[in-house]
Amino acid sequence: MKIYLKIWRQTDAGTPGKLVDYELDNVIPHMSFLEMMDTLNEQLILSGDRPVEFDHDCREGICGQCGMMINGRAHGPVQHLTTCQLHMREFKDGDTIYIEPFRGAAFPVKRDLRVDRSAFDRIIQAGGFVSVNTGQAPEANGIPITHEQAESAFDSAACIGCGACVATCKNSSAALFTSAKIAHLVKLPQGKMESEKRVLSMVAQMDLEDFGHCTNTEACEVECPQSISVLNIARMNWEYTLSKVLKK
């Protein structure tokens, strides 16, 4: 296949970027999208150009490090997939593909397609944990948790922190990310104890970063590689309200 690429190139956060045209011959449908990018980079290096910087690591959809806007969609045209799991068989010979960094004021561009997602870490630091020190834990079977409860907590905990929810949201809201952690922990007896403080503190941190508000468009759920449900956002809002009321 021959593929035409329009890729966002930007030297650093302070320098304006632009879309640059590239052409790539001999793209094989079995290639992953990132392997196509590798092939382009090899070509760029050998022709004396700078390769495109992009984030990636595990290349099996679990580390959450990869992510780009592909033809305007976070992680590309297939739902519930990370960029590394996208394959070139989803494109046709002669296609033009637009590749841009994840969008969002809270995700400043570092270089080319790499963005700074450290705001997510700071949200977790604000309370996305159970306050248990090493050594304090009681016997694991001491507190039974129903199968359904554990499975439901897992569904929320499965978030990989890639940021596609933010990138795809027209408000750049981090509600799905933040709520998934809040819901994961509140669904388990171990995490329930601190839920009141946690939700207030994590939401406050989310507001401090440059994320927008959630207006319930549900676009995030569509792009989420782990299919994290927007019901988590409803749960966060419920817990938030509850905490505000309980606090009084």
Partner: protein
């Protein structure tokens, strides 16, 4: 130099208690005066950094990823072993110890392995308390599955994302300490050298990967938790950034490297489909609980798998190893697959795979049950291959996976450099010549949560009077000069080949000559080829850009420069071990049935290697292994 593993006295089951009872402690008031550097934020690194932070030490934590949560522990799928005996199937600490030591083909230390089994139960408690959503039965109690190489069910799991959930637990514990200001986090920082002062590890030189800035950090102790280096084979189940640079540079500063050639080749990975391929995706070994592995009985075979009748299929694991069948340990399963593929019975477009078939399990248990157990794995398989594995068998193939080898450590997990510790996959300790499935998450966690807090304190108790070290110290200056020189050297070559091109050639050399099967002739040839490749690398490498900016190619080139050195030591290590054990299969040493032939008389030792300088042959320092509690038997899974 003679190696002292510092094994505590007393009976096996009391050694760890004895150690804990006698380890020195640091007064809480003194802890904040002591600085600890932890490199790596996978399970062992984040667990250690969080635990030491909780204790009140002043911790600096480094990772090369853009968040601590992305370390490759995240990708472990199947589960974590622990001796809880919840299934009432006869499990015990001794049995778990025995399974692990036998699984490792009797090439690990009894005391270390026993401690691993002993601390395992506590890990499950810790993880559950952190909110790890392990699989549960309908009554609300924790569930288990069985895993390769054992006959009890002791594997705890969170669907097929156990590593992710455990890592999120330790990552969250780490973030809690970052918020509490006991830990300072440096993401996108890569360690490029170790700084030694007065014979002790006192700091690191790191490069900020976003800005290219070189930084110096000093401490009273340095912990390397940098994971494995299976990525040296290029095509592997590891993340693209996994590397050996931190441990290799520590090795060049005096830390011995143990059994570097012992790499686990995982039997159930997706096969290679073309030369552009950048990695091989693992499909959890837990699939072998319900999947049956086979190849066609005849070759060539052009029919689709579902059209091949039962009697024309060769379930070779069930045939060769009836007692364990599809659950034979990884080294044995991988070798058996390679044997069939090499004999011309491989399947798939490249004839490089075997079938993993779920039709019997689906017929017996229903698709719903299989979906519940492995749903995300089947989804992943479909995403990558576009094949529905509920309808036709998966195609799998062996792939480089886990480094049993690593920095030599004693019972305290300290390397041969005082004050330098190595945890998790970065060390050689518990797995011997072959790691059992679901033991790697366990080892990483146990090292980080339960061992490091005792042994690091024991070391730091002797450092209370050591003042903080200025990074203007001559040792830091010299290390930085060296690091800058190496970066400059890579950039100056300005040749015609990319770093990846070298990595691919190196990977193929290692697969061919230092992979699933090895021979004296092959290894000798590989050593010569690697030397040539290394010379070519420093003549023809091309790295664009400069060192004082973000430069992904420069990062890659630095890692591959190290790989080109470590690869030679791997071959040297494999060449000098004239026996077959675990993952190390020497063609010259096998039984008439093609099983590994160990030589306990001559090779019952750990090969620790001491660096001698650029282009000098390393010196082998054996650490003899003493078995007092188990009998060395031929490892049979028949």
């Amino acid at each position: 130099m003679e190696l002292n593993a510092k094994i505590p006295p007393g009976p096996l089951k009391d050694k760890w208690s004895f150690y804990k009872d006698h380890a020195r402690l640091v007064n809480p008031a003194n802890r904040k005066k002591l600085d600890v550097i932890v490199v790596g934020t996978g399970l062992s690194g984040s667990a250690a950094a969080a635990s030491l932070g909780e204790m009140g030490y002043n911790v600096k934590s480094f990772c090369f990823q853009d968040s601590a949560r992305r370390a490759h522990s995240v990708a472990a799928q199947g589960g974590v072993n622990a001796m809880k005996n919840y299934k009432n199937d006869g499990d015990s600490v001794y049995r778990m110890f025995y399974d692990t030591i036998k699984g490792g083909d009797f090439r690990s230390r009894e005391a270390n392995v026993y401690r691993l089994a002993e601390c395992s139960a506590q890990l499950i408690d810790q993880a559950v308390a952190q909110g790890v959503p392990f699989g549960r039965e309908y009554g609300g109690y924790l569930n288990n599955r069985s895993f390769g190489g054992v006959q009890v069910s002791r594997t705890f799991y969170a669907r097929g994302q156990t590593g992710q959930q455990l890592l999120l637990g330790s990552y969250q514990a780490l973030m809690r300490q970052v918020a509490a200001k006991t830990v300072t986090l440096y993401t996108r920082h890569e360690m490029l050298d170790l700084v030694i002062v007065d014979g002790k590890a006192r700091g690191v030189i790191v490069r900020n990967l976003d800005t290219g800035e070189i930084e110096r950090h000093s401490a009273h102790t340095v912990i390397l938790a940098t994971g494995g280096f299976g990525k040296i084979y290029y095509l592997s189940t590891l993340a693209m950034g996994c590397n050996a640079s931190a441990i290799w540079r520590a090795h060049k500063k005096g830390a011995f490297m143990a059994c570097p050639s012992w790499t686990q080749v995982h039997p159930t990975s997706l096969p290679q489909s073309g030369s552009y391929q950048s990695k091989l995706t693992l499909m959890s070994e837990s699939l072998r609980n319900d999947g049956r592995i086979w190849v066609p009985l005849h070759s060539p075979e052009n029919r689709k798998p579902n059209d091949i009748p039962e009697e024309e299929r060769d379930y070779y694991l069930e045939r060769r190893y009836p007692a364990f069948g599809n659950l034979a340990p990884r080294d044995i399963s991988s070798r058996a697959a390679k044997e069939r593929i090499d004999a011309g019975f491989g399947v798939g477009p490249q004839l490089n795979a075997v079938y993993l078939d779920f039709s019997k399990a689906i017929k017996e248990q229903g698709q719903g049950k299989i979906q519940e157990k492995y749903g995300n794995l089947f989804d992943m398989y479909r995403k990558i291959t576009d094949i529905d594995a509920y309808q036709e068998p998966m195609m799998i193939s062996p792939a480089a996976h886990f480094s049993m080898g690593g920095l030599w450590v004693d019972y305290e997990l300290m390397t041969t450099i005082p004050g330098l510790f190595a945890l998790g996959e970065a060390n050689f300790a518990d797995h011997g010549a072959n790691r059992l499935g679901a033991n790697s998450l366990l080892q990483a966690c146990v090292d980080g949560y339960f061992i490091a807090p005792y042994t690091i304190s024991n070391y730091l108790a002797g450092e209370i009077k050591t003042p903080r070290l200025s990074t203007d110290d001559q040792a830091f200056v010299a290390a930085e000069v060296q690091v800058r020189a190496q970066l400059g050297k890579l950039l100056e070559i300005n040749g015609t080949k990319t770093a990846d091109q070298y990595h691919k050639i190196l990977g193929k050399l290692l697969y061919d000559y230092c992979g699933l099967s090895r021979s004296s002739a092959g290894l000798t040839k590989a050593i010569a080829e690697i030397k040539k490749l290394r010379a070519d690398f420093y003549k023809n490498l091309k790295v664009p850009g400069s060192e004082d900016e973000m430069n992904g190619e420069l990062e890659k080139a630095g890692r591959i420069a190290d790989y080109l050195e470590i690869a030679e030591l791997m071959c040297q290590d494999a060449l000098t071990r004239e026996e077959s054990c675990g993952a190390h299969f020497r063609e010259e040493y096998q039984t008439p049935e093609g099983e590994a032939l160990r030589n306990d008389e001559k090779y019952c030792f750990v090969s620790a290697w001491q660096y001698q300088g650029e282009d000098q042959e390393e010196i082998l320092v054996p650490e003899p292994l003493h078995f007092e509690n188990v009998e060395l038997t031929v490892r049979s899974y028949k």
